[in-house]
Amino acid sequence: MNGPWVEKYRPKTLDEVVGQDHTIIRLKRYVNEGNMPNLMFTGPAGVGKTTTAIALAKEMLGEYWRQNFLELNASDARGIDTVRNNIKSFCRLKAVGSPFRIIFLDEVDNMTKDAQHALRREMEMYTKTSSFILSCNYSSKIIDPIQSRCAIFRFVPVKGHQIIGRLEYIAKAENLNITMGAIENIVYFAEGDLRRAVNILQASATVGEEINEKSIQDVVSKAKPKDVKKIVAKALDGDFLGARELLRDVMVLQGTSGEDMVTQIYQEISRMAQDGTINENIYINLVESVGETDFRIREGSNPRIQLEALLTKFLINSKAD
């Protein structure tokens, strides 16, 4: 069993990694030297941070990489205790079969500041036996002392033609019947996120025999959070209570993330501005509010509360005023 394609076609070696050429060249130098400093990979989702870390560990540590590689997801285990216990017990032992050990800490920006300070200690204590690879979306959320202990690698969104290349490769391996238009469509929706691109591709492949632009469109709209249109419409209509209730339903029951909601709301108002449902002055005011909400959510506030506050901004041309 190969699992979903995101896993099946995850690059196994550094050479296979797509779209991060500068980073890969430097990392391969480390492999040749047989030594590496602590690394930090920053960049948006789906551009290959985790893939690169695993591939690097394999090439760096050789045959016994599994025993000498610890992968921790800081989002799910972000307390100080987890960091201390897991990392300590792992670092204490000397590497066997490999030159040193590697700890890969994914999504470090979701760790509390306290935990990050604890981590900094661990990074200093075990320099002889272990190296760290940290990954995060926003390096601004990482405390300076950690940043200064790492060589920082910025991962960039994967370029369109590179996504196309990868999709074509998968399509060929899976013997898919896919049009060029469909592939370009995927690239458009993926926004540089290769994981999303591959997921869209596989989802479309399960729907019909031929994958064309329309089937991509269908999959993408099906995968979108539901009811965003209704929420926006209700709010613009002055029904704040109704809009808020629906928003809560979508976020709690369907489990849609705040980031997704913001994106969808933005796309919805853009569409409405384009077809003239709302005039350009209202539109630009709303864009400002949406942008501010997006920022506040990423700063770590409660996404649902922020979105509820955003909905009040839509009441501006409502009948109630």
Binding site: S75, D76, E107, T206, S257, S318
Partner: protein
């Protein structure tokens, strides 16, 4: 000995208030003892109204009793084994009657106590033994099916005067001097909960010979929710900074206060710009809560409190003179209702996250695509097997069970393609599909085996193992195995 125990009624005669209910229960007990089977008894009422006391008084009349409460695990099996047996088999002793007391039946947990409600229903229906169940929430969903099968009795909050009388009696017996208003205050703040009232009295009076109003300050109010609502009311109704600051001195989590204030802004404020401004304050307060959490600098809380209280209060032009009904935030109901689903989502995300090298959050973002992929039988099977998803976990992505179309050894193909397994791998989904269709057509008329189609993933795994052990058998019957593709 705790005063609540010490002064709990020792017989039905001593029970305060609830005369009708008392009589009914006495009657019920007597009927049972005379050998007349009675309906199961369901006592519903808020805490501290005497449900457990009544049940224990009844228990005294019976030779034996079993008691289960929320701290015991109460799945279907557990209930059936402990109670079911008691309720079905005759006791060896005495009258042969075993009283079963089930406390907090509305607290039977959907997930951990799987089937608990079902078992209760069964016991209530067929029970040969007397059963008394207790619950707090008369509108609990778990009670809906139970109620018609039971003799349901609703207990009301104990009247303040009755509580005052009892507290005085205790004071006298303990030799504690008291001021009338102190006792009355204790009774009032207990909000009809006799147990709380007695406990509070014990806190301030035990070992002393006098209680005064200063002693009352010792007690932190138990009922934060009630207090929170008072605070919210003040925030929304007033513009007076001092009053608001006073009201906000509640021992509630700031995030909880934030939710309740936000919930009620649009219920009180009518002008759009007021709502906008107030919600902007909520948003700012929330930002400080977020900062406090991520930096562990809880001194930020004070800004959050000011913004959500005075900030919201000053967002209105003038105070409204109207009656408003304030609600608790619907988010709490939504969260508790969806808990099972969210738990399932978390569990699956964690399971998948291990193999996908991703956090739960990242995995959940892929769920919408998974849902689409799972509509396809083959892909669903492949992914479910890869992540080792159980049937109930598959339900997250599709409502139907996965029909099994594949089985591992493919003797027919091995014959056609001598490369063996590698060759099989190379075969694409589409060509497989065609083959399936073809083979279905071929076999449909001759050997109808519709049963195989209904198999679940789990069954098919077993099937696969069997097949592996016995490949020759399948080789002899290529049509059969093709049918399984």
């Amino acid at each position: 000995m705790l005063w609540t125990e010490k002064y709990s009624p020792k017989s039905f005669d001593e029970v305060l208030g609830n005369v009708k209910i008392k009589d009914e229960l006495v009657n019920w007990t007597e009927e049972w003892l005379m050998g007349n089977k009675q309906q199961c008894m369901l006592l519903i009422g808020p805490p501290g109204t005497g449900k457990t006391t009544l049940a224990h008084l009844a228990a005294k009349e019976f030779s034996e009793y079993i008691e289960l409460n929320a701290s015991d695990k109460r799945s279907y099996e557990v209930l059936k084994n402990t109670i079911g047996e008691a309720s079905l088999s005759k006791s060896l002793f005495g009258e042969g009657l075993k009283l079963i007391i089930m406390d907090e039946v509305d607290g039977i947990h959907g997930n951990e106590d799987r089937g608990g409600t079902r078992a209760l229903n069964k016991i209530a229906k067929e029970g040969h033994h007397p059963v008394i169940m207790m619950a707090n929430d008369p509108y609990s969903k778990r009670l809906q099916s139970l109620k018609p099968k039971c003799n349901t009795i609703i207990l009301r909050k104990v009247h303040t005067n009755s509580i005052v009388a009892l507290l005085k009696k205790i004071c006298i017996k303990e030799g504690v001097e008291f001021e009338e208003h102190v006792v009355r205050n204790l009774a009032k703040r207990s909000n009809g909960d006799l147990r709380t009232a007695i406990n509070d009295l014990e806190v301030i009076a035990r070992g002393k010979d006098k209680i005064t109003s200063e002693d009352l300050d010792l007690l932190s109010s138990k009922d934060n929710i009630i207090n929170s609502f008072d605070a919210v009311r003040t925030v929304l109704k007033s513009k007076n900074p001092r009053r608001i600051k006073d009201a906000m001195k509640v021992e509630a989590e700031p995030s909880l206060m934030l939710e309740i204030i936000a919930e009620n802004i649009p219920r009180e404020y009518e002008k759009v710009h007021e709502i906008q401004k107030a919600y902007e304050m909520i948003s700012q307060a929330d930002i400080y809560l977020g900062r406090a959490f991520s930096t562990r600098a809880y001194t930020y809380w004070k800004y959050a409190y000011e913004l959500m209280s005075l900030g919201v209060a000053l967002s209105k032009e003038e105070t409204y003179r109207k009656f408003s009904r304030f609600n608790n935030s619907s988010i709490f109901t939504k969260l508790s209702k969806s808990r099972a689903k969210r738990d399932l989502r978390d569990r699956v995300a964690e399971k998948m996250g291990e193999k996908l090298h991703a956090s739960k959050k990242v995995v959940k973002e892929q769920f919408p695509y998974m849902e689409i992929m799972f509509q396809n039988e083959d892909t669903a099977y492949e992914i479910a097997t890869y992540f080792d998803l159980k049937d109930d976990e598959v339900k997250l992505f599709r409502s139907r069970k996965i029909k099994v179309k594949k089985s591992k050894p493919k003797p027919k193909q091995e014959l056609d393609q001598p490369e063996g397994l590698n060759g099989v791998k190379a075969v694409t989904k589409k060509s497989k599909k065609k083959q399936v269709k073809k083979s279905v057509k071929e076999t449909e008329d001759k050997t109808k085996k519709p049963r195989r189609n209904k198999k679940t993933v789990e069954e098919s795994k077993i099937e696969n193992k069997k097949d592996k052990k016995n490949p020759e058998k399948d080789a002899k019957d290529p049509q059969k195995s093709l049918f399984n593709f």
